[in-house]
């Protein structure tokens, strides 16, 4: 009996004569399933054992590869908050209406969520963290982490809507954490790079010498026009940078990255202002393409 292609296909799917599904009967299917169950089970066990053995060689607290031996390198990225929202992922534009509460609230909420752990420190890693207050004179001991005094941010607090409602927004800057990375500070006022903004140079000179172990932060408009539109900038905390006692990061419980709140006091409305912020230390190189050491964003206030 010659079968048509369709019949052949049907017979392949289900052959009632031999009670075969896809060319196998129940016994055959169960056998092959059992075989593969055992085979894959053993394989999975093997892989799992290999992984487990291997993981024993790794420290759960200390990365195997650090800094230059790792891909992460020694040039930390500089980031800003609030983050652009997912619906406009490619852009770095912070665009809001100070008069429209629902409009700026998303930025405020974004910031609040981000800053939550700073306001309730030790919330994530409860108990084990040994948090203490640090200062330039009292760096943390091994295993200790420094508290971050949110009052230092001054005006830039959630209660005051980070001043978005007054068209003087605060932008928070953060430096990527790299395990074991120790900054080399610009703490000698005679040895500052030429491309460092003069404002910052003056500021460094005005800072007490013991507080100069700081990763300095500077923000400015990218073009002369932007500088003009941007107007004055105020930095919180006053030291205008990330204090050195937060470094190195050693994956201690409760560690909080230092943040700098940059407040643009009187930016011109209705115009996109290009802003570039830079972190300054001798071992930070600025690269816009890799977004390390410096960060770029735009501000538009309606």
């Amino acid at each position: 009996m010659k079968l048509t292609d369709k019949q052949k296909f049907q017979k392949l799917i289900w052959d009632p004569e031999h009670k075969q599904f896809l060319g196998r009967n129940a016994t055959s299917w169960s056998k092959i399933c059992l075989f593969y169950l055992v085979f894959y089970g053993m394989l999975a066990a093997l892989v799992a054992i290999c992984m487990w053995v291997f993981f024993q060689t790794l420290d759960p607290r200390i990365p195997k590869w650090q800094m230059d031996s790792s891909i992460i390198g020694t040039n930390p990225g500089l980031g800003f908050r609030p983050m652009p929202t997912a619906d406009n992922a490619e852009s770095t534009l912070i665009w809001f209406e100070g008069s429209n509460k629902t409009n700026f609230n998303k930025w405020v909420n974004n910031l609040s969520a981000f800053l939550d752990k700073y306001y309730t420190p030790g919330k994530t890693e409860k108990g084990t963290a040994s948090i203490r207050k640090c200062s330039y004179n009292q760096p943390p001991k091994r295993g200790q982490v420094c508290d971050f005094d949110v009052r230092l941010w001054g005006e830039c607090s959630p209660d005051k809507f980070f001043n978005y409602h007054r068209n003087a927004p605060c932008i928070f800057l953060k430096l990527n954490r790299i395990y074991g990375w120790v900054p080399e500070y610009y703490n000698d006022i005679h040895d500052l790079p030429e491309n460092m903004p003069d404002d910052l140079k003056k500021h460094i000179a005005s800072v007490k010498p013991e507080e100069r172990n700081t990763i300095w932060i500077s923000c400015e408009g990218e073009n002369p026009a932007d500088i003009e539109y941007l107007g004055p900038i105020s930095y919180h905390p006053q030291v205008q940078g990330f204090p050195g006692y937060y470094y190195p990061y050693e994956n201690s419980e409760g560690y909080l990255s230092p943040l700098v709140a940059v407040q643009f006091l009187r930016p011109v409305s209705g115009i996109v202002i290009n802003i570039e912020c830079k972190a300054w230390a001798k071992n930070i190189k600025h690269s816009r393409a890799d977004r390390t050491g410096s960060v770029h964003f735009e501000l538009l206030i309606d």
Binding site: V47, C50, I71, G77, R291
Partner: protein, 1005 residues
């Protein structure tokens, strides 16, 4: 597939065209070369009807007109061939991939004004790959067609020419207009020839007209139209019967054939089993790749990936599934094998025929020249009622016993005259007569040598000249007799030789007891008994008879044999038998044995006497039992079922119904067909094919050519084979040695085996390429293996080892297992997929992921962190993605990490492929048995590794998304590579030791 549909109407058109052209030719060809009287033609062409052209004239003409060959018809231009190679098969899939990339890039540019370098790069790489594989394929094909061409020139056609009255053998292409040529059955007509003399000469014009009816050719002009007249034989048609002499009137492109060349003689070779298998595999893979691609594409869009990413999945999946190097591997292995076989004296005319031979399960072998040496020597004589042993030594010491006896001279006279053989370079020193070169058929040559040795009638040549031949009816396979009439002093003598029973039935009297007696039934039985006794020893017997013709038949009598002899051909005087032996080739016995162990049935199909056939069959091992069934009894109720062997004679065969023949072919393992005609040979082949056998036919004569053509693979003899048989065959045994077929079968099977191995090897890495895509979509982990890395695995690192498997030597079971059944044992089977995908492939994927997770962990991302991380990982604006150690990774940094992992994954696959290629070396044997002597493979593994090193550690490779990885990454995959090999060794161990076990049933491919 689209191509097939296109091709069909075109083919029809061409045929129509050619028919139309042929019609036009009938009108166009205006010539009177065939109508003018022969002497007019001779003077016109400055030739002579007896002596032919002069050597000088022939040379001069050759300089003017050039070789007698067709200028090759307009070939497909090289660039079109190249374009074909890059648009066929898998290349098409890659083109789709490349165009998807470009479309994605264009859309990206139109909507976002951003140049999408990744996609453009991918498109460029894909196109590069297509072109590279195209160039490789093109090179391979070119090379193999060159090899095929060189094979063609190894079998030049010869023609017998008479120049300056001397008969010489020249290459057909050296013929010129005016040459006097001799033609006999089995030849291809060397040019357009006007017949001057002919004896029962028939040609098959099928290469021109398409009708293969043998047409009579005489020297009578019967029609004005050259195509219709009887006295012209056309270039490249086949002489099927008789002999003729004629003058070349047209050469080369001026011949009728030359004018219609390429139009009608186009051969459409039927699709070979290998091509069928490859098409099947390509269809399956294409469907699989496209369906999988679409499923994943749709799924990824459904889960919310941007469609550009989805397009990338589709490309990745298609690319990872396509075995880009496969076709090149196939062509290469076929070419390698064809070359290797040529060294072993097997010329392959059609590349893919090599594999066909491998799947052969029945060999129908001709006896003479194939199984035997075709060196006939006279062995016994029977005359005057006695058998005498022939003496073929130089000194003729023993010959004195019989030379003086009465009857011997009569027999020798008959044998001398009824013999067309001639010595070439006669009158070399009278030494080693047995080694003198003879022009003519083997048994005639043997008889001639015997006559020369006895020299009873003096020089046989002189003797023949003294008794001028008046007419001749050459031997043909239907009548099985040869006769000629010679002039004696006062009257004519008819001499006849042929198959003993045919001769005896024409005889009325017999020379016996020193006298001529009436051939009574009793005497007839005596003769038959003598004949039977000789034949039982496997000797070939020729009967001889003569008759002094009545006075009415003087030598001026117009003897003719067309259409029927105008003289009596019965009532002759029987003068005796000469029995010849053609000893079997020494190596045939072993070869037949090997065939049998390889599950190949060897059937002898011969025109010889059943008894002779049986004797030789027994000697070479085709028949191994003494209980031989008589075919005549087959349908009697009492036929013995236990019998394994059968001898079927042509007469019995004629009475059998088709299904009865099939039953015989099916039931018996040892079959000998004797006394068969060409049509019966064809019937046997067709019967075997009806039973779904793949049949190889060996043959040498023109009568074998229909069977050779019909067979799945026709094998002709290079030395003894007629040109026609060589034309219709797919393969030519240059040394006429049956044992060479074994080599062919072995090579053919090896090709198929090695191709399977190659496919397993290539498919295995597909899973390791597919799984990352899958995990990427399903588990949302950062992409473990990039598309460029997939491409590099497929076309760079995997390519050479896959090809090197073609060089793998055969395994021990190759000639011990039964031939593959083309309906069930496909190139790719479920088992093969199972093994490649579910065993080796999964192991490779495990190795890849193992390395991937380890490296991610080493750099800070623990596996649990990775799951679900993809959306953030791939988001550009997130510049501070936290790892398991709290470190924050910028986008660029983590992408570099991703590419590093991808490189490590690739290295893991490469390392696993080491194990894979070693595992694929054998299907059954342990690698310990097989050894590591395949140096091509060893080197290719090295090159594979060097390529991977090059990709990983060369600076600037970061543009192709390869980043250097630590040496330890190579070590991580090594245990898995070893596991692949070990597991496969275990699997093979189980297959070897439990031939009905689970592994055999589920994984033996």
């Amino acid at each position: 597939m689209g191509k097939k549909k296109e091709a069909k109407p075109r083919k029809l058109n061409r045929k129509d065209q050619s028919l139309k052209r042929l019609e036009n030719f009938k009108k166009e060809i205006v010539t009177d070369h065939h109508t003018v009287p022969i002497d007019v033609l001779c003077s016109r062409l400055e030739t002579d009807i007896e002596r032919g052209l002069s050597q000088y004239k022939a040379r001069q003409l050759f300089m003017e007109t050039g070789p007698n060959a067709l200028t090759p018809s307009r070939k497909t231009p090289e660039y079109i061939k190249f374009i074909k190679t890059i648009t066929e098969g898998f290349s098409l899939l890659l083109w789709i991939g490349a165009s998807l990339c470009i479309i994605a890039a264009v859309i990206e540019y139109v909507y976002r004004k951003k140049v999408d370098t990744d996609n453009l790069l991918l498109a460029a790489v894909l196109v590069l790959i297509i072109i590279m594989t195209g160039i490789f394929m093109y090179y391979q094909q070119n090379k193999s067609s060159k090899i095929m061409d060189s094979f063609a020139t190894m079998i030049p056609q010869k023609a017998e020419v008479i120049r300056d009255g001397q008969q010489i053998t020249v290459n057909v292409k050296d013929l010129v207009v005016g040459d006097l040529v001799d033609m006999k059955f089995g030849d291809r007509i060397p040019a357009d020839v006007r017949i001057t003399k002919s004896q029962g000469f028939k040609v098959d014009n099928s290469s021109i007209t398409g009708e293969n009816e043998p047409l009579l050719r005489t020297n009578q002009c019967t029609n004005e139209n050259i195509l219709e007249t009887r006295n012209v034989a056309f270039f490249s048609t086949n002489a099927v019967e008789g002999t003729a002499q004629g003058i070349v009137i047209m050469c080369g492109d001026h011949t009728v054939m030359g004018k219609i060349a390429g139009l009608t003689a186009r051969l459409h070779p039927s699709i070979t089993p290998l091509a069928r298998e490859l098409n099947r595999f390509m269809t399956i893979i294409t469907f699989w790749a496209v369906i999988l691609g679409i499923i994943f594409g749709v799924a990824s869009i459904a889960i919310g990936y941007p469609w550009i990413d989805s397009a990338l999945f589709i490309i990745g999946i298609i690319v990872s599934n396509v075995p880009e190097g496969l076709l090149a591997t196939v062509t290469l292995s076929l070419t390698v094998t064809a070359k290797k076989m040529a060294l072993k004296n097997c010329l392959v005319k059609n590349l893919e025929a090599v594999e066909t031979l491998g799947s052969t399960n029945v060999v129908c072998s001709d006896k003479t020249g194939t199984l035997t040496q075709n060196k006939m020597t006279v062995c016994h004589l029977w005359y005057n009622g006695d058998v005498v042993q022939a003496d073929i030594s130089e000194d003729q010491y023993d010959a004195r016993k019989y030379t003086e006896t009465p009857g011997f001279d009569i027999l020798i006279r008959c044998a001398t005259l009824c013999n067309r053989a001639e010595f070439i370079n006669t009158r070399t020193p009278r030494k080693y007569i047995m080694k003198w070169e003879v022009r003519g058929d083997a048994s005639e040559a043997a008889i001639l040598k015997f006559i020369e040795l006895t020299r009873l009638e003096g020089d046989p040549d002189e003797f023949r000249k003294a008794h001028k031949k008046l007419i001749e009816l050459p031997f043909n396979s239907t009548s099985k007799i040869q006769l000629s009439i010679h002039a004696l002093a006062n009257n004519c003598l008819m001499v006849m030789k042929g198959a003993p029973e045919r001769i005896l039935e024409r005889c009325k009297t017999i020379f016996i007891n020193d006298d001529v007696e009436e051939l009574s039934d009793e005497l007839r039985q005596t003769c038959e008994k003598a004949c039977f006794e000789l034949a039982a020893r496997g000797e070939r017997i020729l009967g001889f008879c003569d008759m002094e013709m009545k006075d009415t038949y003087t030598y001026s009598y117009p003897f003719t044999i067309d259409p029927l002899p105008n003289f009596p051909t019965e009532g002759l005087r029987f003068v005796g038998f000469i029995s010849l032996i053609d000893p079997p080739r020494p190596e045939v016995h072993n070869a037949v044995e090997t065939c049998k162990t390889a599950g190949i049935k060897v059937i002898m199909v011969t025109g010889d006497h059943p008894v002779t056939a049986k004797a030789i069959a027994k000697e070479v091992g085709i028949i191994t039992t003494d209980s031989i069934e008589d075919a005549a009894l087959f349908y009697n109720a009492d036929h013995d079922e236990t019998k394994d062997a059968i001898v079927v004679s042509g007469t019995t065969l004629r009475e059998l119904q088709q299904d009865e023949l099939d039953a015989i072919l099916y039931t018996y393992n040892e079959i000998v067909f004797a006394r068969t005609s060409p049509t019966q040979k064809l019937q046997i082949v067709e019967g075997l094919q009806r039973l779904k056998n793949i049949v190889a036919v060996t043959g040498d004569g023109v009568n074998d050519s229909p069977a050779l053509k019909k067979a799945d693979i026709g094998i002709a003899m290079g030395i003894s084979g007629s040109e026609v048989s060589q034309q219709s065959a797919d393969m030519i045994l240059m040394d006429d040695n049956f044992a060479s077929i074994i080599t062919g079968i072995e090579e053919g099977r090896k090709i198929f085996d090695n191709l399977k191995k190659s496919i397993v090897y290539v498919l295995a890495s597909n899973i390791a390429e597919l799984a990352p895509c899958l995990m990427f979509i399903v588990c949302n982990i950062p992409l473990p293996l990039g598309i460029l890395a997939i491409l590099c695995i497929d076309v760079l690192t995997d390519m050479l080892p896959a090809i090197s498997l073609a060089y793998e030597k055969a395994e021990s079971d190759i000639m011990k297992r039964t031939p593959r059944n083309p309906n069930v044992d496909n190139l790719v089977t479920f088992r093969l997929y199972f093994l490649a995908y579910c065993h080796i492939g999964v192991l490779e994927a495990c190795a890849g992921f193992f390395v991937y997770f380890l490296i991610m962990y080493e750099y800070g991302f623990k596996p649990n962190r990775l799951f679900g991380l993809r959306p953030e990982w791939d988001t550009y604006y997130i510049n501070d993605l936290e790892d398991s150690y709290g470190q924050e990774w910028s986008y660029e940094e983590r992408k570099q990490l991703e590419y590093t992992c991808s490189t490590a994954f690739m290295i893991a696959v490469v390392v696993c492929q080491w194990g894979d290629v070693l595992a694929c070396k054998t299907r059954l044997n342990s690698i310990m048995v097989q050894g590591m002597t395949n140096w091509f493979m060893n080197v290719s593994i090295l090159i594979e590794t060097l390529l991977a090193i090059f990709l990983t550690y060369t600076p600037y490779m970061s543009y192709l998304k390869f980043y250097p990885v630590g040496l330890h990454c190579w070590l991580y995959a090594l245990p898995f590579s070893g596991l692949i090999l070990l597991f496969d060794e275990y699997r093979k161990f189980c297959i070897r030791n439990y031939p009905r076990g689970y592994f055999y049933r589920e994984t033996y491919y």
